[in-house]
Symmetry: C2
Subunit: 141 residues, 2 copies
């Protein structure tokens, strides 16, 4: 749980508390390195903290998202998955084999500026997932 201290400070600075439940969930996300569904988070965090409930997992994932410690992604399955918040990025997923790759956020910078000047909005966030065919799956077309 060596990853805990910075998270605890961030929460406390906002008037929230660090709890064993949040710690277990953060730990799972932090060390997983990939997207996890709420039930995957629940199963893994339960190992570290027996007695954890699914209700708490859902609530905590939403809470961490609101506070910038986790990021949800809609990967086309109809359900949200979560990952630890780190560098801002997006995803590109193959509709056939399911292979995923990251899309650097700076590729969207130009678009962001263009959108802001056209719309008058100030952009703060985005949910972006691209779907397509990876090089391998294009061959088998």
């Amino acid at each position: 749980m060596s990853c805990a201290q910075p998270y605890a400070l961030q929460l406390r600075a906002r008037g929230y508390r660090m709890t064993p439940q949040r710690l277990a969930i953060l730990h799972v996300l932090h060390h997983s390195g990939k997207h996890l569904s709420p039930s995957e988070v629940y199963q893994q965090a339960c190992v570290e903290l027996p007695g954890l409930t699914e209700t708490t997992v859902y609530r905590t994932l939403e809470f961490l998202t609101e506070n910038g410690l986790a990021r949800p992604a809609y990967m086309g399955s109809g359900h949200l998955v979560y990952e630890i918040a780190g560098h801002e990025h997006h995803h590109l997923k193959c509709r056939i084999c399911g292979h995923e790759m990251e899309v650097r956020h700076d590729l969207l910078k130009t678009l962001y500026r263009q959108l802001e000047s056209e719309s008058g909005y100030r952009l703060t966030d985005s949910h972006v997932t691209f779907i397509g065919l990876c090089p391998d799956c294009q061959k088998g077309e």
Copy 2:
């Protein structure tokens, strides 16, 4: 239900059938002009076709999506909403007042090309929603 014929032909061409259930749901989407949640679709379509079940609504929305007649959008609420498929577009939503505006797809064309050449993927689809502050809500900051 004057909007039915073209839809029926599209489905039949793919080996599927037009049914009263699908017609009612398409009708609701077609004439709504905005995003609807599955339960909103259910309620409205039920008026036209009493006896319709929620199961069928969920299944039909997914079916229409797969066949290009409806489009799902993830609007940041954690739940999918649907609209009739027409011109391809994306969304920009104010995180405070909820106001939504459309983003033309051609604004993403450059990004698409860039992504394709960098990744080797062929892009076929995307789930894109931008979140920000609309001009009005920026004032109240």
